[in-house]
């Protein structure tokens, strides 16, 4: 495909141009999405916001869904990055401290672009290729599951899979609620929130034998 004499700068120049366009489109999508909501985010509006023609948009994304999917991917990648880093830094700590740090990281992740995250959670139809949203959950599951595996000796639940799934769902839900709705009861008190969630998770993973009969 590359013809003769395609001086690298040329190719790289056009590559850079393309990439800039794509970047601009994703940014515009995020902006329009958060400012106008999913339904009012038309491809024309997005292109205009990106300072690009609709034609260019369709040069890079086959349809609106793909565009949003790409943005979701990018956002997910950013959030996962935070989780990965947190897991690294936490590797040698004891469970409780580690969990606390991880919860803190979860809050940070949700703060990356909470408005956008809210749109994703509330408005983007989970259909077709947009199932990518769930992919985040999948990756998260695997990372957390690996971590817990490694801390197996500090954990007393039997089924690690279920436990992982539960923890991930819980932290996601609570963090989301905390960041998005700022629940009246914890309004902004981030430390108390982290404490509370940590206690919840640790209590679940490492129930003291003293835990009384449930019947």
């Amino acid at each position: 495909m590359a013809r003769s004499v395609p001086t690298t700068p040329r190719k790289s120049a056009s590559q850079k141009r393309s990439q800039a366009t794509v970047e601009a489109l994703l940014d515009a999508t995020a902006r329009v999405l958060t400012r106008e909501g999913y339904d009012r985010a038309s491809t024309n509006r997005i292109a205009a916001t990106a300072g690009v023609s609709v034609g260019s948009l369709y040069q890079y994304f086959p349809n609106k869904e793909a565009l949003v999917a790409a943005l979701v991917s990018r956002h997910n990648r950013e959030m996962l990055e935070l989780l990965r880093n947190a897991l690294k830094e936490v590797a040698s700590l004891d469970l409780a401290t580690a969990i606390r740090e991880l919860v803190r990281a979860a809050v940070d992740a949700h703060l990356v672009d909470s408005a956008l995250h809210r749109i994703f959670a509330e408005q983007v139809p989970r259909m077709g290729q947009l199932a990518k949203i769930e992919a985040l959950q999948g990756e998260t599951f695997l990372l957390v599951r690996a971590y817990l595996e490694q801390r197996r000796h500090e954990i007393s639940v039997r089924d690690l899979d279920s436990a992982t799934s539960i923890c991930v769902t819980i932290v996601e839900a609570l963090t989301h609620d905390f960041v998005i709705n700022k629940p009246v009861t914890l309004k902004g008190d981030r430390d108390r929130f982290v404490d509370e969630v940590t206690r919840l998770i640790v209590g679940y993973l490492r129930p003291s034998r003293a835990a009384k009969p449930l019947t």
Copy 2:
């Protein structure tokens, strides 16, 4: 909403017919919503499904949003009803058993019409319906909060508001996930699911003093 004490039989008759039409429209909305998704649920399609003209639809609902809002309300009422009943039946039981029953009720509530519930959760917030959904959360919060208050002596958390909020959010998220996504790890094993969630909640509300140093 239902006018009280219909005076003349004639009036009541027409009221009954109206009521039936409204009912038919809501049913049709639910059907179309679950079968076609929010985006393809047009008022024309809904009216057709209800066996009514679009004109009639607009006789009863000023716009599409109001129609969906009414359906959300109806659905919420049904789910809350289950919760209220469960709370009554559970009043005299000890905390752990009670929680178990309440979790079970939560699953039942999500099974009332899980497909519809999914649509509401994933697509409806696009509209101004957040209010309605939050209203459900609000009512739920109040009911649960009242129940926990009454069991205060069995609960060792300090801030009952936070605890309520956390419990409600958790149960909602886990139940939703369980019903909608049938997580691989618990696929369909409802009893194990209920056990696990119960243990989680009880452990959180009534931590054994034995829960030792986190460091």
Copy 3:
């Protein structure tokens, strides 16, 4: 579907209205098609020309293709009508005279709306449901075939199917050419044209035994 008290005038009124709209759309399609050509005939333009909104167009025709197909149908029906009448009037005549009249009818048929016919022949893509264009050929084939069958004794070709097919194709092609291109050689001389074609066809169907060795 019919509700109570739908006084026939009402129903018929709206039926009349609908029908008028459909008629207007088909007329507009013909006009736009002949004036602008197939490619420039957009649904919006057609609707505008019909004095109707695009929405109405799509109320009656699922897409542009269907609209054109309906017009083709209508046009075909008109042309076939002429053929049917001619066949009736010709039933008792001898073959040669009959053929002459039929050729004349073919010319008339092509003159019904020759501009439109030209567009159909030259510009309408023969794809999808537009295969209806060929349906005309099919019906024509059957009618002519039936006629020839009935005149079997005056015809000396062996395979009546082939003969029918050939006659139909020939007459269509020549008539089309005559009407559309007014070939220099016969410019407008309709009687000479009819004579010539008649001689051609009759010579083919009823070759005199005297026809010399072809080898």
Copy 4:
């Protein structure tokens, strides 16, 4: 079109490259046209298929129309070539045998690239290409007319122009139908088809005196 006597080798080399590009573009156009149809044959797609950039396409052809026109020309040239050859080989034969060979040649001509020919016949007239197509008809007319002139003594029709026009139109129509639609009645039986058409034409050009009163 090919410049004559390329002087310098260098120039000739680049000319050869240009020529190759043009050839590639025409081939690609034919491929895309037959595979996708006229409507979906975009210049971008054609360029891509040719392994060339759109820019290059526009270097050689001012617009899409010119590109298709060139392809039509090439195709016409190929078909005419077959006709010319057939006329040469047939020069000394008697009329009936000659006609038979010419009809055979017509079928061959239509088989050169029948898919492409179909597209030209059905879709291309949409553009200004009618000229090109009529040019083919024109050339064909002249060639055939010259041939018939030369066989004047074997032909008993009066107006040779009309006769030529009719023969050309007939053979084109029948052959086209035979090749494209494979009429049920003659499905694939090429020899019978050629026989039949030959009989038709010869009967028309050389009617035996025995052909009786038409009245």
